[in-house]
Symmetry: C2
């Protein structure tokens, strides 16, 4: 790394260089349709890691690999203070796109490159990280690497986790050479910022370039089981029915109607329904279905949960069916740092970009890092809202805008 | 057959004899749980037929077997007039009960036996029939034998019908020895009456012994296909959704609510639902579901169909999904003969039984016979409403009541 004290120009993002790295990384585990398949800790993930680590070293970063395989590249600051970190993940789902996670890591590297080119020395060190197994598509839970990094998931528990193929995280880390020696959980961070594709349709639909992410929604997943009575659809009067399928349908409708009453931030989805015996002329005696409720506002989310359950119980009594349920997921909402949210807005406007506050519907490493330091995220639009899909795409000009906002934000935070 | 002109007593049902025949026939194709498996034209059906034909001949009936395998046993009358016929079917579904169909045939034989015992000669001949393949569980359509007998299904088409195992009706009739020589469609009938178990819960629920069947409901089955857009349940705002599953749920709720508005006779069932991709956190892009609408009143049924379709189209437009559908079944309601309905009520009351008018939700041979002569049915209660089930059961005293009403009804009709 070369640092000069004579700046030659203000640092700026070199879009072709960034796009070149995105394209090069997408070649590792490339699949038909322009997508990528690099499940966590597979050989493909290992090769992708090797490539990014090589780039980190070429940029003069000091690379450390911890015991759960998180990789951090640090660019020294003028003072030996807690660093400002950016980053994301480079593992993908089985049929993923090239932007999810990768953009955040590679834009971080591009910021380092831009600072190098401009000869900028920041007050605080800057770090770029990629965390192990963010997707959770091979090993549960998702966001595993950041959870161990932050401290809420014990290292040994993570290492012992068996994946969908029966092998453990620890075995696979050793196999691909990423069972690092750096201790986990020792890092003090000044702040954490993550650039990511939105993975939803909102920014594109609103015609907005930059999302100042306010937080990550709370998630409440329930699987309901309704047990009624199977009977002949032609011989059973309506008043004598105990129709499990109807109860499922009414709860789905209630949840949708409730989102309208509670306002724009409340989401409700019934994505899975299974009826039994599932025949045209038999009243269903069994319905198993899921309800996915999300909100950034913990109080409203709790109200949505309570009211849906109240409705479900009352309905089950009226229809004469048995209702049971189990929780599939229950995460409280995460609020990002207000100062960082405000800075994202200010910087985006200064760059002439449209910007709006937006909540993340999906989980991200930044929500875990938010437990240990001020954290925030920058979103750029996903064309058609597509993600976890080989057709995932974000326009070049939006990538440039997002990376430029990230650059300025990191510069500001690093001077604090 | 012995006929005397000196009656020794009024004819009456011998319950043990009738129950004995029901039990004996249930041994043919008996399956675990007390049920019966005699799919149409299998070896088991053949053995069942042999047993019933033997009983017919023992009772002195003149047995004829027509080209579709319908079997008719005739007891001569005092005059050579069009006969009064009773009967049903002896084929069952794969895991059926011992009463469905069988009761109507064996109660008919018991009536003949009672008349023989009492030495009663009726004015018109009396006939007991069992019709081929009423269930339709092996060969479509159901009510095949009565349809050929009545004339709406051409004989050759029925004989050429391939079953679920690929063999034809004709082949199987020859194999089991029931490709008869009697011509079909030549019979003139004065009336047709069928005793049957209700196959639904109404009579038991109302505490009523005898159902005076007013007709068979019209049936309108539709398979709907809703095509929406699959998207992330966490990142897609409610206002931007095109949720195929929700549309299916709303139509199911609408149909149920409509039955309340249209009144007691309207039935609506959504028995089959299939969502795609059917995942907890993905908005369904495809829903395929069935709607079963039934009513004895053709006008109200048509209104139910029209209003459901109107609602579905409007909803699809509002949600931004594509709606398509195909008809799976569409049968107009059948009304039984008013005089016969009234006589069932009168006779039941005379016997001291509770009686109520009831519509049949299931299809029966009597509805086909109703196209060629005055026809009616007598229902007796099904415990728990169960049918097409090895646990199908009707109490002995209800069997006696039903058979006794049948006896008196046949006697009255035979004197006309």
């Amino acid at each position: 790394m070369t640092m000069t004290t004579n700046r030659t120009a203000a640092p700026r993002i070199d879009l072709p260089r960034l796009l070149g790295r995105i394209a090069a990384l997408a070649q590792v585990g490339a699949i038909d349709g322009g997508g990528v398949s690099r499940l966590a800790l597979t050989d493909e993930d290992g090769l992708g890691r090797d490539l990014v680590v090589r780039w980190m070293r070429e940029l003069g970063l000091v690379v450390s690999i911890d015991a759960i395989g998180n990789v951090v590249g640090v660019r020294r600051g003028r003072e030996d203070l807690a660093p400002v970190m950016t980053g994301s993940h480079i593992d993908t789902v089985r049929t993923g796109g090239r932007y999810d996670g990768n953009l955040g890591v590679l834009a971080g590297l591009e910021v380092m490159a831009a600072l190098n080119d401009a000869g900028v020395a920041t007050r605080r060190p800057l770090a770029v990280a990629f965390f192990t197994n963010e997707e959770g598509a091979r090993f549960a839970p998702d966001m595993m690497g950041s959870l161990v990094f932050q401290g809420d998931l014990p290292l040994q528990q993570a290492l012992d986790t068996k994946g969908i193929d029966g092998s453990t995280v620890g075995e696979n880390l050793r196999r691909i050479g990423y069972a690092g020696t750096h201790p986990v959980g020792t890092n003090q961070l000044h702040a954490f910022v993550e650039l990511h594709v939105e993975q939803g349709p909102v920014l594109e639909h609103e015609g907005v370039t930059i999302g100042a992410v306010t937080g990550v929604q709370g998630i409440h997943w329930t699987e309901f089981t309704v047990e009624g009575t199977s009977n002949h659809a032609g011989t059973t009067p309506m008043r004598l029915r105990h129709d499990a399928g109807l109860v499922a349908a009414r709860i789905a409708c209630f949840a949708r109607d409730l989102t309208r009453e509670l306002g724009g931030g409340q989401l409700a989805t019934v994505g899975h329904v299974k009826l039994s015996p599932n025949l045209v002329n038999v009243i269903p005696n069994l319905a198993v279905f899921t309800l996915d409720l999300r909100n950034t506002d913990e109080t409203v989310l709790a109200e949505a949960v309570r009211r849906t359950f109240d409705f479900a119980h009352e309905l089950a009594r009226a229809e004469g069916v048995k209702l049971s349920y189990r929780s599939l997921a229950d995460f409280a909402p995460v609020a990002f740092d207000n100062q960082i949210i405000g800075r994202v807005e200010t910087i985006a406007r200064r760059h002439g970009h449209s910007v709006q506050r937006i909540a993340s519907g999906a989980g991200h490493d930044a929500q875990i890092l938010a437990r240990m330091c001020p954290a925030g995220m920058i979103f750029v639009p996903s064309v058609g809202g597509l993600s976890h899909n080989v057709a995932e795409f974000t326009n070049d000009r939006d990538i440039e805008a997002g990376a430029s906002v990230l650059l300025d934000l990191l510069l500001e935070l690093a001077e604090q």
